[in-house]
Structure formats: structure tokens, C-alpha cells
């Protein structure tokens, strides 16, 4: 009978954990001038290797101050985009925070107990993250999406 219920979950709508502008302010103290990395063909290929597809825009914005860079990135979990803020300093992740969560399942990835696992991680030479987060049952796609975004932020930081 559970088969009959496979598609019938309730959807509560997007949950804004923190506005992107507030995330940048709290991470950098202010919103500095926007910068962007316009991906070359080679960089696009590398991004595709991380995400399994192109990023939604060819140029990706970031904000930088006092040696820190903030990336506001989006990736689809199952069907909806997860807006995530990533702070990178000295090629290592300082903070990962889910800012807007739109999926009906997998919201557990927004908990700090999960996102704190990314702290201090860096990018290995093979493009993988130095320490993978634990999976969360029922939130596999969201866990994968956040891991991809962490890798993407580290990659972009290395391309500035």
C-alpha cells in the first residue's frame, strides 16, 4: 500500500532560513561590491564534472572581504533549487548555510549539525571534498546537492 503513497506528500512551500543579503552581511560585515567569475570553456567542463551539468548561469557572482569569499549558489535537490551560502577562507570552507529550502523532503540538511560537517574541508586534487558529510536517510539528494555546492564553492574560490 505504501506504493500508493509514493507521490502524495504534502508540500509546505519554500522555507527561508536566512536572506542571502543577511548571510553576506553576517559573514563579511557588509555587502561589498559584487564580483563574478565568467566561466571559460575549460572551467565549464570542470563545473560539469562537479555538478553533472552546467551551472544555471555562465557567470557566477561572489563577494569578498578580508580574505573571505562568499558564494550564494543554487542546486536542485530533487526538483527544487536549494539556495546555499558558502564562506571560503584560505581555500577552506568556513561556513555552509542553507538559506532557502524549497523541497518537500530532506530539510534536515539545513540543520547546523549537518552543515557544520563542511567546516575546514578543502578540495582534493581529484576534485572531491576532503571529508564527505554523513548521509541522511531520506535526504540523500539534498545531501548530494549540498556536497556539490561545497565542492563548487571551493573550485570557484581557486579560480578567482
Amino acid at each position: 500500500m505504501s506504493l500508493l503513497l509514493a507521490g502524495g506528500s504534502a508540500f509546505a512551500g519554500p522555507k527561508v532560513h536566512q536572506k542571502p543579503s543577511d548571510f553576506i552581511k553576517s559573514s563579511l560585515g557588509a555587502i561589498p561590491t559584487t564580483h563574478a567569475i565568467t566561466l571559460t570553456a575549460t572551467q565549464q567542463r570542470q563545473v560539469r564534472a562537479i555538478l553533472g551539468k552546467n551551472y544555471k548561469t555562465k557567470a557566477i557572482r561572489y563577494w569578498a572581504r578580508n580574505g573571505k569569499s562568499v558564494f550564494i549558489l543554487e542546486e536542485i535537490g530533487k526538483t527544487e533549487a536549494i539556495t546555499t551560502g558558502v564562506v571560503v577562507k584560505n581555500r577552506k570552507i568556513e561556513t555552509v548555510k542553507v538559506l532557502v529550502y524549497r523541497e518537500s523532503h530532506g530539510w534536515e540538511v539545513a540543520r547546523s549539525a549537518f552543515t557544520n560537517q563542511f567546516q575546514g574541508t578543502s578540495l582534493k586534487s581529484n576534485g572531491q571534498i576532503s571529508r564527505s558529510p554523513r548521509n541522511i536517510a531520506g535526504a540523500t539528494l539534498s545531501v548530494r546537492a549540498l556536497t556539490k555546492l561545497a565542492r563548487l564553492a571551493l573550485f570557484l574560490d581557486s579560480q578567482k
Binding site: 500500500m1 506504493l3 507521490g7 542571502p20 543579503s21 563574478a36 544555471k56 555562465k58 557572482r61 526538483t79
Partner: protein, 246 residues
Amino acid sequence: MSHQPTKLRRHIARKWHRWLGLVAAVPILWLAISGIMLNHAQRLGLNDRMVTSGWILQHYNQLPEGEPYAFEVGDRLITGWGNELFLDEESIPLEGELVGAVAHKGRLLIATPDKIGVFDGADELLLELDNLSLPGTPVQALEAVDDKLHLKIADQTFVLSEDFFSADQVSAELVAIEPRELSPEEKDSLTEAIRTRRGMPLWRVITDAHSGRLFGWPGWVVTDLSAVFLIILTLLGLRLFPKRKS
């Protein structure tokens, strides 16, 4: 003495089990197979594959609400319909009310109150500008004046820099250009494009076919009946399970 009624009950149960099983076999098989597929949607790539069959897409009737309106930029038509935006007849990854569209140095900029999408010559989204990069929101108008990009935000006019990331306020007042209505032919053509060209993820189609909703009320009635039949078949099966006394 009590063997006759028991034998009769078993006979009736077997008869119902056989015929209900026959009637419900195909829908139950479909429910089981589609249920397994949905449980392994990621592994089977159902999230990435798109269904483009016009027959199936017509069931979804994805037409936006309200009347479409458009800005003409050269020979391109940028249409806003409901919350959706279209470049010629292709949906673009930008949502909201269409407030302006201009061509500028080989790029096409399309503005909604919350975002400006910058598209390159291949119609790919190059950049999204929002309140993190613009002097504010909502954007009320976007126009190219004297080869410069002018923005109207909170009744004030700004000139966007060449990299789009800074803006200087100017005293000139920007009068918003009004969009035009689509002609009946243009609307019919866009309607057909939306109904038939927009793909639907395969997992969504299978989910809706699994629940029966894809086929309207007859679909969910058949699904519900199949579920009821499955319950009855289980109970009848349990009733028939004990060995017959010789």
C-alpha cells in the same frame, strides 16, 4: 455436519479471488512496477529524463493564468504570461512580472521586479542580478538610453555600469515603456508551444500515472478500486490459506 457451509464459503471465496484477481491484475501490476521505479528514481535517472510527448503534456495543460504581454527587442519577442517569461516561444529560467527588456552590446537583458537576467548571444543565461548587486528592488523599468542601461527603482533612475555590478543615480526621469498585447496568432502559437514542447520530468509523469491523476478522475477511481481489490484479494487469500480438510 458443518462441512457443507465451509465448503460453500471456500468455493465462493475462491471464485471471488479468481475474478477479482483477473480484473485487478493489470492495474496492480502497474502500481507495483511504477512503485518500484519511483523508489529507485535516482538510480534509473527518472529525475533527469524529460517526457516530451505532446499527448502526455496536453494532460498537464501548463498554460499560465491571465493574458500574455510582450516587449519587442529587435526581431525578438519577450513575453510575460502569469509568472512565466518566454523568449520568442521558449521558456526562460527567470520568473516574475515582466517589466522591461533591452538589447545591449550583444546581450539581452530581461527585467522582473526582483531580478534582471542577462542573456548572451546564444540565449543562455549569463548572469542573474538581484538585490545583492542592484541598487535596490523592485525594478520598475529597464531601458537603453544613449547606449547606456537605465534602471528605474523606487521612482529613481540609475545608470548601470558595464559589468552590471554598480549603478550611479542620475536626475533624468525614466518613463517606462508599456508592453503590448500579443496578437491572436502570436498567442495561439505560444499556447501550442507551451502545451507540446515543454518537457515534464519522467518521475513526475510516472508518479502521476502511479496515483492515476494523470488520467483525471477515471484514473484515480481505477487506482482506488485496485487498492480496494488488493485488500479484498489479500483477505480472501488468507481465508483460502488453511488446508482443506479431507
